[in-house]
Every structure is written in structure tokens, then in C-alpha cells.
């Protein structure tokens, strides 16, 4: 279907896409513009599409009310660690399931897939007990370890497995003849070639970790340890009411970098998924 469209079709497609875009873009637009509106304008009805009065002080207040820079760093480094860890362990497991023949491989893979089926709410209490036993409450460890081994990592393993299945077998055999052992083959041949799939996995994992909500709230208690989605809930006035404009400014700052990363990486992302032959 990737053929040049006739001019009439082009207009049609652009038109359709632009209309469809409204429900996708309006809330974000509202978020961004409201973050620079005085609070009384935010709920004005009908809403101003373009703000009439600007109040940029909200962005300053974000940093005054919370250790926001610290929280930003927390989110960033946790997401980075989770992404790196997932990429490593999932590609290892994905590689083995795709490429190495060992007894019970299929059974083990099925067991692994259970991880994909469990909502976070279901296991949060036992996990809390486990981490309490390890004395890791109010540390970042749960937020790093659970995603690396939980549902998103299983999805990543699945993607990596699909990718490695499609990778030409001869490359590895050439490497074996060239004198490499399994791990070296994985590390120097398979992994560098898995870049596109790794890219897709990285974006998925990063997004998941970046947006994690339930776990931080349950596991973290001091503001200096908070992550961004959790920090967003903390912008309140003296009576617990939400400081909407400040909260939205923080939300904007939370979303923008990820959006920018997506803009830059989206081709890699789409192609990575295309290459990984993501099939059931």
C-alpha cells in the first residue's frame, strides 16, 4: 500500500488524520497551556484554547515545593538502570530460548510467560513483604528489581526471542568455527546485531519504568526518594487541594523529554519492531 497517493486521496488522508488527532492532542495541549495559566483560568468554561494570561512562575514553584530535580534524577536513573538491566537479561534469556537447545526449554518459556499475565495489584502485598524482609523499603531497589524481572521484562524477552529466531543461524556458526564460545557469540555477534530489537525494547521498558505509579507509592516514603509520577501527586495547598497549575507544569516537564526521545527514536523503534518479526 506504500504507493504514491493521488492528490485527492492525499487531502482525504491528511483531513482524516487531522480530525482524528484532536482527541489525542487536545488533552496534552490543555496540560501544557494550563500549566502556564493562573489557576482560576484552568477550569474556566469554555476553556481558552490559547491562554490569555500567562503565569510562568508555576515552573519555578515545581522546584520549590518538591525536591523536583532530585526526583527527576531518581526517575531518570531508575528508568536507565531498569532499561539496561532488562536489555541485558531479556536479551540473554531471549537468545537462549531462541537459539540454544536444552531440555525443558519450552516448559520454562511457558512458565516465564505467566509473568505477562499478572496485574501489579495482585502481587503488590507479597512483594512488599519480600522487600521488607530484605530491608529495602523506601529504597529504589524494588522499582529497579521488579520491572527488570516482572511483566515488562517478559515482554522484552519475548520480543528478543522473536528477533533472535529470525537472525541467520550461519552467523553464529561462523563464530563457532572462528573459535568463540556461547557467551562470546552472544556478546560480540548476536547482541550487536540485535540493535533494532533492543531499541524497541529499550523504549518500551523506559516508558514503563518512567510511568510506574503504584510501586513507587507503595515502596517509597521520603520525598527525596520519590519518582516523578509520585511527585506529581504532591503538589497540594495547605488543605490538600491540588495546585493544578503547578501539578500540570510538573506533568509537562515529565512528559516532554520522553516525547522528544520518541521523536528522535521513532524510526528506529518502528523498524526495530518490524525487524523483530513480532509475531504470536
Amino acid at each position: 500500500m506504500k504507493t504514491d497517493l493521488s492528490p485527492r486521496m492525499k487531502v482525504l488522508v491528511y483531513g482524516l488524520m487531522s480530525v482524528l488527532l484532536i482527541p489525542f492532542v487536545f488533552p496534552t495541549w490543555w496540560m501544557v497551556t494550563s500549566s502556564v495559566k493562573p489557576i482560576s483560568d484552568i477550569f474556566a468554561f469554555p476553556p481558552d484554547i490559547v491562554p490569555t494570561r500567562f503565569d510562568f512562575s508555576t515552573y519555578g514553584r515545581v522546584f520549590e515545593l518538591q525536591p523536583f530535580a532530585q526526583q527527576y534524577w531518581n526517575s531518570a536513573y531508575i528508568a536507565a538502570l531498569v532499561t539496561a538491566g532488562t536489555m541485558l537479561f531479556s536479551s540473554m534469556a531471549g537468545y537462549a530460548f531462541a537459539r540454544i537447545r536444552f531440555p525443558f526449554a519450552n516448559t520454562l518459556f511457558m512458565i516465564l510467560l505467566i509473568g505477562l499475565l499478572i496485574p501489579a495489584e495482585v502481587t503488590i502485598v507479597p512483594l512488599f513483604q519480600i522487600f521488607l524482609g530484605w530491608d529495602m523499603i523506601n529504597t529504589h531497589w524494588p522499582l529497579i528489581l521488579i520491572p527488570i524481572f516482572g511483566a515488562p521484562s517478559v515482554f522484552a524477552t519475548f520480543v528478543m526471542r522473536q528477533f533472535f529466531i529470525a537472525l541467520p543461524k550461519e552467523l553464529e556458526e561462523a563464530a563457532r568455527v572462528d573459535g568463540l564460545g556461547r557467551f562470546k557469540i552472544f556478546w560480540t555477534i548476536a547482541l550487536p546485531l540485535a540493535r533494532p530489537a533492543l531499541g524497541a525494547v529499550a523504549i518500551f521498558t523506559f516508558l514503563h519504568s518512567w510511568n510506574l505509579y503504584l510501586e513507587p507509592i507503595v515502596f517509597l516514603s521520603s520525598p527525596a526518594n520519590f519518582t516523578l509520577p509520585q511527585a506529581l501527586t504532591q503538589f497540594t495547598d495547605a488543605y490538600g487541594g491540588a495546585l493544578w497549575n503547578v501539578q500540570l507544569a510538573a506533568a509537562t516537564m515529565t512528559a516532554l523529554p520522553v516525547l522528544i526521545v520518541f521523536i528522535i527514536a521513532q524510526r528506529q523503534f518502528v523498524e526495530g519492531l518490524a525487524h523483530s518479526g513480532l509475531k504470536g
Binding site: M1, L5, V13, Y14, M17, L20, L21, F24, V25, P27, T28, M31, P46, F89, M92, A93, A96, R101, F102, L108, I111, I114, L117, P119, E121, T123, V125, P126, Q129, I130, L145, I146, I148, F149, G150, S153, F155, R182, F183, L207, N211, Y213, P229, Q247, A251, T254, A255, L259, F262, I263, Q266, F269, V270, E271, G272, L273, A274, L278, K279, G280
Partner: protein
């Protein structure tokens, strides 16, 4: 040089224990070890514990933790709220999957065109995925009010919109739609990738054969990307059974019980009503539902999905 095989077999040699196969198997286990250990500790053991809790009467506040065998499961069977909850869950999941997949597919097809600025469109359609859930839901709650933006828009066309979040049907639709708009970008990207994997000669052959565009879509595109459709539908169904925050903010399960889906009900029982044992039982039910649905889909794949190898 003769063709016939030599009759004398070579002298029997003792094979070393670490044969090539065994060494390779060991490597395989070492490779999956981190993930398998992780899954055991962070998924399987917790799941086992949840099952263990479900055999108890556990009131968190009252500190009661009493073994009662299958008592919670009996409660489950006679729970008057449960049929409604399961019904709502089914409607929600089915509606969400259909709408999500349909929209994702439509967007993917549109975004697969060779057009200027298509990257910008892709990014914009994807953007809700990265927007904070809180902000997203607030805006939609605001738009969906009786006197909100959507009805104001409808009014300009002379349509009197329903009170979206206050009627069982429209509340369900609203919750689904808000959820779909937030996350459809992910499926869209998956479909886009799948579409790009369809060999373009197939379309050229179809054009030469005179296949109309719509038929090209239904008869070539859809079957060719059916494995991805299956996979995304599994992921989406599993995901739909886990949707919680949107419902909590938009409808709190109402009106009536119309949007109280299983995971929300579970949350209420465990965390609001402090009935942890029963909550654990509902967790097990949820897990079983997810597993069974996934299993059914997986079984249907042979019929509905086309595989190249």
C-alpha cells in the same frame, strides 16, 4: 574407493561426560538463569503467596489471619456483586479490545502512507502514551462532564449529548474511549511495524490483478499481519483486565456497578474494605481469567492466524 559401508564398526570409545550437547545445555541454563530466578522471586513466589492468602480470612486492620480453606472461594461463588462485576469486565475488555485494535489499525494504515510530515503525525498520535496518566484523566473527566467540552461541541451541531459519566452505557463507553486514546499509540506502532513487513510486491500484484483497495486490505493486509493482530490482542486483553487508575478517577466503578471491573473490585475489597483474604481470592480469579482467555486465544491462532512457517 568402494561405495559399500565398512562392516567393521569403529572401536567403541568412551564419550566424555561434557559432550557438546551437554555443554550447550549448561550454557542455555546459565543464560536464562537471571531471568528465571527473577521471575521465580518476583512473580511466581508472590503468586503462590497470594494463593496462600486466599485460603485465609485476613482482615488487615483487625490483624486476623485465620486459615479457612476454601471459604473465600465459597464466598466468591455466592458474592451477589460478582456477576455484575464479571459482566462489566467482559463488556469493558471486549469493547476496549475491539475499539483499540480497530483504531490502532486505522491509524497504522493512515500513518503507513508515504506523505510529507507523517513523522509528526506519528509522534502526535503516540504522544498520549508518554503523558502523565493523572493529567490525561483529569482532562477527560473535565471534557466528559454533562456541561463539559464534548457536549458543548455536540451542542454546536444541535445535538444534546448524554451525561456521559452518569449513565451506565455511556460511562462504560467513556472509560473505554479514554483508555484507548491514552494507549492506542503502542498498538499503532506495533501494527505500523507489521504493515511495513508486508512485502510490497503483494500489493503490486494485487494492483495488477485489479483488486480494489478495500479488498487489498481485507484479503492481503489483514491476513499478512494476523500474527501481530493476535499478539497485540492478547497483550491488549491482558492489559484491559488490569486497567484501574482511569476507572478510579473517572467513575469510581459507577454509576451503579456498571464500570466496576474485576481489578477495581479486587482493589476495593482488599484495600478499601481491608478484606485481604477475599482480595487474594479475587486476584486468583483474575489470574485464572487472564490465563484462560490467553489460552483460548492461543488455541484459536491456528484457525484465525496465518503463519508463514
Amino acid at each position: 574407493m568402494t561405495v559399500a559401508a565398512k562392516s567393521s564398526s569403529p572401536p567403541a570409545r568412551k564419550r566424555p561426560f561434557w559432550t557438546m550437547e551437554r555443554r550447550d545445555s549448561l550454557a542455555g541454563y546459565l543464560f536464562i538463569a537471571p531471568q528465571m530466578i527473577g521471575i521465580t522471586v518476583f512473580v511466581l513466589i508472590p503468586l503462590g503467596l497470594v494463593f496462600w492468602y486466599s485460603l485465609h480470612e485476613w482482615n488487615v486492620l483487625a490483624q486476623t489471619f485465620r486459615f479457612q480453606g476454601l471459604g473465600n472461594y465459597q464466598t466468591l461463588l455466592s458474592d451477589p456483586g460478582l456477576p455484575q462485576v464479571l459482566g462489566a469486565t467482559a463488556i469493558f475488555s471486549v469493547g476496549l479490545v475491539i475499539f483499540n485494535m480497530g483504531l490502532a489499525l486505522l491509524l497504522a494504515v493512515l500513518l503507513d502512507q508515504k506523505l510529507k510530515g507523517i513523522t509528526l503525525y506519528r509522534t502526535l498520535f503516540f504522544s498520549p502514551v508518554v503523558v502523565s496518566l493523572v493529567a490525561w484523566t483529569i482532562v477527560w473527566g473535565f471534557l466528559l462532564q454533562n456541561n463539559g467540552g464534548i457536549n458543548a461541541l455536540l451542542a454546536t451541531f444541535g445535538i444534546e449529548g448524554p451525561n456521559w459519566l452518569r449513565h451506565p452505557t455511556t460511562a462504560m463507553i467513556s472509560v473505554i474511549v479514554v483508555q484507548v486514546f491514552k494507549n492506542v499509540g503502542l498498538n499503532m506502532v506495533l501494527f505500523l511495524a507489521a504493515l511495513q513487513g508486508v512485502p510490497r510486491e503483494l500489493y503490486e500484484a494485487a494492483r495488477v490483478d485489479g483488486t480494489p483497495a478495500f479488498k487489498q486490505f481485507t484479503r492481503i493486509t489483514l491476513p499478512m499481519i494476523s500474527p501481530t493482530v493476535l499478539l497485540t490482542s492478547i497483550i491488549t486483553i491482558v492489559g484491559s483486565l488490569q486497567v484501574f487508575a482511569q476507572i478510579a478517577v473517572l467513575t469510581q466503578g459507577g454509576p451503579g456497578m456498571s464500570t466496576t471491573v474485576l481489578v477495581y473490585y479486587l482493589y476495593q475489597q482488599a484495600f478499601q474494605f481491608h478484606k485481604f483474604g477475599y482480595g487474594a481470592t479475587l486476584s486468583i480469579l483474575l489470574f485464572v481469567v487472564v490465563a484462560v482467555l490467553t489460552f483460548i486465544q492461543w488455541q484459536m491462532r491456528r484457525k484465525l492466524v496465518f503463519y508463514e512457517n
